[in-house]
Symmetry: C2
Subunit: 214 residues, 2 copies
């Protein structure tokens, strides 16, 4: 395939390099530094080249949109029309300081709940896997690679209690940080539900976070 890369930063640069190594013809475009584009293309190998956004798009079978959300309007103007083009976007709708989603939520069920029970010590947990998988995970708790279960909260002792219980029912507890991370964990729970109930296979779905490198 011919693949046009719009935005050659961390994601676009690396993915374009991998696409080129997989044998595709890749055109890197849209960086503040033309020199960086040239270096990316040189390092990615013979299938890679440099162009303007319009050139990257013109012959492309697939276009990777990998710019910061604040640059989407600009790069699309430069790229021109995209009739029928397959566009893969990894641009998240973040504000300019990259601190939060601009198309987004400003609270969570967990934070609202915490305001209702201010004297309790709240941990949001157990809401990111379907109930159908619980007994299966418990039955498999001796195996080396346990599924993860994220939890979040603002009280350290309460979080230790949560982590202990999570471990006892067969998961590996993953501390996701303060309670406000529920703004991300709650939609994640719906993503898991979508995969569990609408995806292929039964609803017995769990997930595992894995670190590489290091």
């Amino acid at each position: 395939m011919q693949i046009g890369i719009l935005g050659s930063g961390l994601m676009g640069g690396k993915l374009g390099t991998l696409f080129a190594r997989a044998g595709h013809e890749v055109v890197f475009s849209y960086s503040h530094s033309p020199r960086k584009l040239e270096r990316l293309a040189a390092e990615a190998g013979s299938g890679a080249s440099v162009g303007t956004p319009a050139e990257a798009v013109r012959q492309a079978d697939a276009v990777l949109l990998a710019v910061h959300w604040s640059r989407v309007g600009d790069v699309l103007r430069r790229a021109g029309k995209l009739p029928g083009k397959v566009v893969l976007s990894c641009s998240l709708p973040m504000n300019r300081r990259d601190t939060e989603l601009v198309v987004g939520r400003t609270s969570s069920g967990a934070e609202r709940l915490a305001r209702r029970i201010p004297r309790a010590r709240l941990v949001a947990a157990f809401n990111t896997v379907p109930s159908e998988v619980l007994f299966d995970v418990f039955a498999a708790r001796r195996r080396a690679r346990r599924p993860s279960l994220v939890y979040c909260g603002d009280n350290a002792e309460a979080k230790r209690t949560a982590a202990r219980l999570i471990r006892e029912v067969g998961f590996e507890p993953v501390d996701a940080g303060p309670l406000k991370v529920a703004r991300y964990a709650e939609p994640f729970a719906l993503l898991v539900a979508q995969l569990a109930y609408e995806g292929k296979g039964g609803p017995e779905l769990a997930y595992r976070f894995e670190r590489f490198g290091g």
Copy 2:
């Protein structure tokens, strides 16, 4: 520990059972059916019993809140004060029909982008893992259990292209459904980012969805 279960439905019933099997004293409460509570307690073993929400909470070292969001107010009124109590909540802020978050988002960056490029065929992909992990995953692409990468979109052919590229760079593509699932996948990306950049270990983080049972 003594653990009070507020809401003995799918999640509360199963988790309470597992907590009891792990050796804790569990009090099941708050079901429309007293008979169901009795059966849960009987099946969970000698550490389990039945009570009112207030009884479930009174001696509890930890309280599991596992009711539908629409019942939170009612069960909290019945439970009484929770001073210093460790409360684990798995209640998601869903509407009564369980179709969407009530504390929530009604669009996504991907959907907004799709309206800007209506003639293109958009797939949201590659935005749920940090760029730092890409080369590691590619290097490990021969191993049996690849990390997952979710993608979503409304055009089948564009999604096949996305899945192919995802596979070529070392991930297992996971079709998360239509483009509007980006409402969940984008916050999930921020959850991953939170774990990658704020959690223990380096940012080379990936995830894998796994089915059990079946």
